[in-house]
């Protein structure tokens, strides 16, 4: 994680490829495959990722889906991209700037060229740069003939034509034949990075039930690889050596997969049946899809009529003894507010997951953002406190889901877990945990009738979970203020005050169950960078860059946003300054300034629907340190 990192093409050791062409060793590469929605870019991206993981690189990926379902072919709105950053050292994010851009058509070039670094490799499908596509992309003249591409190392390949030639023998119709071209492009890139294609070859063989199609795609893949090897265009290939990765079992995981698996693990650890009530919404829907596919694991999913019904069904399920969860994004979260308030009042456990997207209102559904933190904290009527968590990486989503469930059932409270589009769709290699070693989460339903009171609390201030089917514990709960202990309706003023403060105190006590906060980098010194959620990689990468220059910079990435960790104030005090980068207009800062009035907080914000770049963080840190 803190290993030295050098960028592609800066460190170079030359070797020779098997087939004779020299290959250059580089430390780190960021590549993006971009094309039309129909071009299969997500597919080749994930193939390249698997191969790269197997090759032992550290890596991080990010798909860039078009906002439109399927915009017209060749249009800017229809561009789909897949980015992967891989290295022989630690990888923090999916990459700031691209070393390689593969552009399957003019629109893909137009949308993505700005992210390619000067001198970077630009591989284009020259055939697609015809008059029609140029017009659709809004190019007046062919950029390949202009100095727009002058700053890059341009490789024009007639990918379509070459693919058609490669698959001719299979006699596919034109459309099917053309659709093999993504594998042709992948073949070229495999060659370029000296990759072993075995994994992809066997994937193609498994995947295509149609034998002809399977062979055609294989042919295209190999033809692309051979093209790289044999043409004069590329004078050498590159190689990114294995990273030093702790031994163990790894898999690729996206954040949404992490959530789905984490909820299932929580179900196993608590011994409770998992129930998901959800309503589809970008970018959260995949959690619903994945869990719906887990009926064989005993998971029950309800695609509700709307977000309100989804969370209300969770109220019913939680009351009845299930581990209830609901997943959504911003607008759906707004709709759930009233019912979450009910769950707070009923003191029922529930995991509410908001995979944040850019707002306000419908906003930019496919873009990432962290602007729902204050909504999570305060977006309900009345004093309505609940724990709020976040997840920093795709793999962390797994653990955050378990932690959310732990808090929910231990404290009998709904918990909000915030992830975002970046962490949800991004993927990384993840050390697979041994389920038998995960700490169990003890849950005991109340059965003793003796002394039972629905709102009598334990040491955690949690009330008993007494579920239907238990003789003698019949009781009614509701959203009206309740009398302390008995839970009967009460309009008594001092009782109300006591209950409000009890509910707040219960949530505050969650902090007592947290492990010491991890400070990465400097443990004291000039600056603490305090982040939360998916900015983890950008901040870590940014700090990594500046620490090279000798500054004492520490990093805390908060998982728990409410309550904040007990030791946070002490940690903050060990640093001269605290910088809080957020993909919003400064929401965690609001909470910090309220909680630690003395502490000077420097809010650093960006709200563009995309993650921070490591360099942006580095620059912000530097200018803050230099303002010293």
């Amino acid at each position: 994680m803190v290993a030295l990192r050098t960028r592609f093409l800066t460190t170079a050791t030359m070797g020779t490829s098997a087939a004779g062409k020299p290959h250059e060793q580089v430390d780190s590469v960021a590549i993006r495959f971009a094309g039309d929605s129909g071009d299969g870019m997500q597919l080749v991206g994930t193939q390249f990722t698997s191969t790269t993981a197997l090759a032992g690189n550290d890596l991080s990926t990010l798909p860039d889906f078009p906002a439109e379902i399927r915009a017209p072919a060749g249009s800017l709105a229809g561009v789909s991209g897949y980015q992967i950053n891989f290295s022989s050292n630690a990888v923090f994010t999916s990459g700031d700037v691209l070393d390689v851009l593969v552009a399957m058509n003019p629109a893909a070039l137009k949308r993505n060229l700005k992210d390619l670094k000067e001198g970077g490799i630009l591989l284009v499908n020259s055939e697609a740069f015809n008059a029609k596509n140029l017009e659709r992309a809004g190019y007046k003249e062919n950029p390949l003939d202009s100095n727009i591409v002058g700053a890059y190392r341009l490789f024009k390949v007639d990918i379509t034509g070459q693919t058609l030639a490669a698959v001719r023998e299979f006699k596919l119709d034109h459309r099917a034949a053309t659709r093999c071209r993504n594998f042709y492009a992948l073949g070229i890139v495999y060659w370029l990075f000296s990759r072993n294609m075995d994994a992809t070859i066997s994937w193609i063989q498994r995947k295509f039930s149609d034998k002809t199609l399977s062979e055609a795609n294989l042919a295209a893949l190999k033809a692309g690889f051979n093209y790289g090897e044999t043409t004069e265009m590329f004078d050498h290939a590159y190689e990114v050596r294995k990273a030093e990765i702790a031994p163990g079992k790894y898999r690729n995981i996206s954040g949404n997969e992490g959530l789905a698996l984490g909820l299932m693990a929580a179900s196993e650890l608590t011994g409770l049946n998992l129930f998901l009530g959800s309503y589809p919404i970008t970018p959260a829907s995949d959690v619903l899809h994945m869990l719906s596919n887990m009926k064989h694991m005993g998971v029950r999913t309800l695609q509700a009529e709307d977000e309100i019904a989804a969370v209300c069904a969770c109220v019913g399920a939680a009351y009845s003894g299930a581990l209830a969860a609901t997943t959504t994004s911003g607008p759906g979260m707004a709709l759930k507010a009233e019912a979450i308030g009910l769950a707070v009042m009923l003191e029922l456990p529930m995991v509410v997951i908001n995979v944040q997207r850019a707002g306000p209102s419908t906003g930019m559904p496919t873009k990432t953002e962290q602007a729902d933190l204050l909504q999570a904290m305060f977006g309900r009527n009345g004093e309505c406190p609940l724990p709020v968590l976040s997840a920093r990486t795709p793999g962390d989503c797994f653990h955050a889901a378990i932690e959310a469930a732990r808090i929910a059932v231990t404290y009998m409270t709904p918990v909000i877990l915030l992830t975002d589009g970046y962490v949800a769709n991004g993927a990384e290699p993840w050390p697979v945990p041994d389920v038998s070693k995960l700490p169990p989460i003890p849950v005991k339903f109340r059965t003793e009738t003796e002394g039972f009171k629905p709102y009598l609390r334990d040491d955690n201030l949690a009330r008993p979970w007494a579920i239907p089917g238990t003789p003698g514990l019949e009781h009614r709960v509701g959203g009206i203020e309740k009398e302390n202990l008995t839970g009967n309706i009460s309009y008594d003023g001092p009782n109300h005050e006591a209950m409000c403060r009890l509910r707040a105190e219960k949530v505050a006590r969650v902090a007592n169950s947290l492990p010491p906060t991890l400070v990465e980098g400097a443990q004291e010194g000039d600056l603490l960078v305090l982040g939360w959620g998916s900015t983890y990689g950008s901040i870590a990468g940014g700090i990594h860059r500046v620490q090279l220059r000798g500054h004492k910079v520490g990093h805390v990435q908060l998982q728990h946003l409410n309550p904040l960790p007990n030791d946070l104030e002490d940690i903050m005090k060990r640093f001269k300054r605290v910088m809080v980068p957020e993909m919003n207009l400064g929401q965690l800062s609001v909470l910090l300034r309220n909680r630690y009035p003395g502490q000077p907080i420097h809010s650093h914000t960006k709200i563009q629907g995309t993650p921070f770049r490591e360099t942006e963080i580095a620059k912000a840190i530097t200018s803050l340190l230099e303002a010293n």
Partner: protein, 344 residues
């Protein structure tokens, strides 16, 4: 990861011999004197022991409104939820606990104003919940605004010049949603409530029962035409399965379709009983025709409009899960391991 038992492994009590008293909670009933809700509560409390289900396996769910206070008065499990959302809460209960018996109480505002959509969906899904909609054609708890079932022109707090919205008919809405059991009864007719609730309790799937209920405070006498001794015979049509649609003090009037397929009131003696419409709870066409008989042109039908069999959502969902888990050999660890590689 096999399906866990979500409820504690306790010995359930024997349901036989339960009394009405045992189903009565210790909370003071907080309805206005004379409120129609009392009669309904009494009938429900009376019905419960006869169901052969122990108290601990019954959950009453409601939204918000006078009517929705109902669960507090039942000594069973219960949730007094939020306005309009009871169907969703009930669906959540049945999804994870098909073993429980769930009753839901709602009002015309709770169920058809803010909660209309959840009602549509619980009905179409046919979740095994017994729904009682107390229809007093007014918002009681918020002190007297017109509701979606108030008649056009209703003068109430927010419509001093009379409402300009056509009412919804709960029975028609339920049939439109594809409900499998739809009935109507009226608070003062305790015998009829008792029978109707019994029928509802026997139905597998969603049973929807509209109960006309007098609110003496904010909408007094709304149903007098059908409860008043002097008028009720001519204004109430008590449907019976397999019987011709007859009403009037001596059943002298009947309902038939005219030549243009429009319902008409006929004199049975002159028209002939065999030409009357014969009620058939299982025939949607009949259910639909009677559902459109409206006061004052027609007598108001009470009884069961429709009763059809169809597996319930919760049953199918749980069968799907059970079938899938039965064959399953996968562990969570195996799921996690999927697609993994090992770094040495």
């Amino acid at each position: 990861m096999p399906t866990q038992t979500v409820y504690p492994n306790v010995v359930h009590t024997d349901p036989t011999g339960q009394t009405k008293q045992e189903f009565t909670s210790d909370q003071d009933v907080r309805w206005c004197p004379g409120c129609g809700d009392y009669a309904i509560l009494a009938q429900v409390q009376k019905l419960m022991p006869s169901l052969g289900i122990s108290r601990e396996n019954i959950v009453f769910v409601s939204g918000i409104g006078c009517s929705s206070r109902f669960p507090y008065y039942m000594n069973t499990y219960g949730i007094h939820s939020i306005h309009g959302r009871a169907p969703a809460v009930a669906t959540g209960i049945k999804a994870v606990r098909p073993d429980l018996t769930v009753w839901m109480v709602t009002g015309d505002g709770d169920g058809l104003s803010i909660g209309g959509n959840h009602l549509l969906h619980v009905l179409r899904r046919n979740v095994d919940v017994k729904i009682l909609m107390f229809n007093n054609q007014i918002y009681g708890l918020t002190k007297g605004q017109y509701s979606p079932t108030s008649p056009l022109g209703k003068k109430a707090k927010s419509t001093p010049l009379g409402s300009v919205d056509y009412p919804l008919d709960p029975v028609s809405v339920a049939l439109g949603a594809g409900a499998t059991f739809v009935a109507r009864t009226v608070d003062v007719n305790v015998k009829h409530i008792a029978e109707t609730l019994k029928r509802a309790s026997q139905h597998q799937g969603t049973a929807f029962v509209e109960i006309y209920q007098n609110c003496p405070i904010f909408n007094d006498a709304a149903f007098d035409y059908m409860t008043d001794k002097s008028t009720k015979d001519d204004h109430v049509l008590a449907m019976e399965h397999g019987k011709p649609l007859r009403f009037g003090a001596n059943g002298e009037k009947g309902v038939a379709l005219d030549a243009s397929m429009r319902p008409q009131i006929v004199d049975v003696a002159t028209y002939g009983e065999d030409k009357l419409l014969v009620h058939d709870e299982t025939n949607e066409v009949l259910s639909l025709i009677v559902s459109r008989l409206r006061h004052p042109e027609f007598p108001v039908p009470i009884g069961v409009f429709r009763s059809a069999e169809r597996p319930s959502y919760d049953r199918m969902m749980n069968e799907q899960v059970d079938a899938a888990t039965k064959g399953n050999k996968k562990t969570l660890q195996q799921l996690l391991d999927a697609g993994s590689w090992t770094v040495t």
